[in-house]
């Protein structure tokens, strides 16, 4: 009973730590590594929510391909330590506390608003319903057009990346 709660808080803490490290890191490679940490902890959270296929896709596509692309580009461009920018004084002294306050307000609003949509007990039913077979039935029947359009989008993206990254003749 308490184990899902512990797992949730551990993964939430990891995700928020990763996001904060992304902001605070001075080298882009450390930012990339903290983003990978965020993605992996989100994948565990998806498992906790019962969406196992989405969790595997998150790791394969996001953490295993998109972030590899980021790491490659950082390695290729030899991106070193970031230059420090002159923050305006306003941003440093008033911005951060105001941002924190905004965060608390948004969190409180979200907490109050969605109390109505409580999770239906018998949550394992969702894990069964969200199985790969059911998800693929949805994807290839109801959302077939979206699927095909997305594949054309990927084709365009591949062609665009190929053309853009080629050295100019």
């Amino acid at each position: 009973m308490i184990v899902p709660l512990i797992v949730f808080f551990a993964c939430a803490a990891l995700a928020v730590t990763g996001a904060i490290l992304l902001i605070l890191a001075r080298e882009p490679i450390h930012s990339a590594l903290s983003l990978i940490l965020v993605m992996v902890s989100l994948a565990i959270l998806y498992l906790l929510l019962g969406a196992e296929f989405i969790s595997a896709i998150q790791i394969i596509v996001y953490a295993g391909a998109v972030m590899v692309l980021f790491v490659f580009v950082i390695m290729l461009l030899n991106a070193g330590v970031e230059e420090r920018t002159d923050f305006s004084k306003f941003a440093k002294f008033a911005g951060l506390p105001l941002g924190f306050f905004l965060l608390i307000e948004v969190a409180r609003w979200m907490y109050g608003a969605s109390a109505g949509s409580a999770i239906v007990p018998g949550a394992d039913a969702f894990t069964q319903a969200a199985s790969t077979r059911a998800l693929s039935a949805e994807l290839f029947r109801k959302y077939l057009f979206n699927f095909e359009a997305t594949s054309i989008l990927i084709l365009i993206a591949i062609l665009g990346a190929l053309v853009l990254a080629r050295k100019s003749q």
């Binding site: 490679i29 450390h30 790791i59 953490a63 295993g64 391909a65 790491v71 490659f72 790969t132």
Partner: protein
Amino acid sequence: MGFISQHSVLVASLIKIAVLLFIVMTALAYLTWFERKVVAHIQSRWGPYYVGAHGLLQPLADGLKFLFKEDFTPPTSDKLVYVLAPFLALTLALTALALIPFGPPYVHFLNGQPVFIVSNIDIGLIFLFAITSMGVYGVALAGWSSNSKYPLLGGLRSSAQMISYEVSLTISVVGVLLLAGTLNFNGIIEGQGGYWLGFLPRWHFIPQIVGFFCYLTAAIAETNRVPFDLPEAETELVAGFHTEYSSFKFAMFFMAEYANMITVSCLATILFFGGWLSPFPETWHWQWYLPGAGLIALGIYCVVDAATRMRGIARLQLGVVALLSLGLGGLCLLPGVAPYVQGPFWFTLKVLVFLFFYVWVRGTLPRFRYDQLMSFGWKLLLPVSLANLVITALVLLFPAFTRHA
């Protein structure tokens, strides 16, 4: 006792993990011995035979050497990433082995947990690919963090190769998935039961022969083995991405590579060769005595060898090996144990055949040049895997060929 009965699933899992880790680490060490012996015999020489009888203590000597070497960290390297990379590589390589079923799932502990698989999840196949796709990071980060030209180039090339062949690997497996109808490993294996024409087992490598060869090629490239090991060959880029690593961190990369090899071989047997299923029908009970007979034969060979050819301490070592082998063989022959050993026995045999094939290819073929490697992966292997997938899907539209819903 109360703790164990309340948390029995946890305790069972911990026991399985401990046993699996022990077996896998020993297997990794002796896989290096196996490779050196086989490659040596292909090259008409003996391989290690001095350290222990038949070189059997060579892995121990290598392990001690790795532990006692100077652990040098390059001063301009990125410390965190430099230490993280080999840990990541080894951890991911070993985690993938938790999903592999070594035997049938109906053999279980007292609380219903299966004995031969650590975690029997419904999305086993895709989760395994998720873990292997994260394995690229070990290589890329190692190359980057060494802060030196050759490792960086080697790391970039090696990780580019791994992600290119990963696409073909995944697509060549989807044909099997279409035939099996489930992502669960035990489901895939159980779908390969039965026989065609009475004697050919329904293993997936017969209808999916093209997919099998695509998978094998992509797997060899994915694990950075010859003939695809340009990024880490000794004559090419010094030592590729692990140039700047010494002692135990280098050993971790080494172990990660062999663990990946074992994982990929296990996956090949599960997907294409029926996993823990035996090629003979279940009713032939004489096959229960095969593991025991094999081990006893090995023990007798060791005894004869120790008596005739060995001198001194080698005799003692070989005698110990013979005793162990005879003991295990006798244990496997007991009628209470024999049926349960069948699953792991056939699985291990098939995995060993694949590992032998890996080492055989290493001793035989020259390596690809990097541009040849990349063009082969993208221009030949990927279209062939895609064609295999499309043709399989088309064939399965006819109801005569579909066995599941």
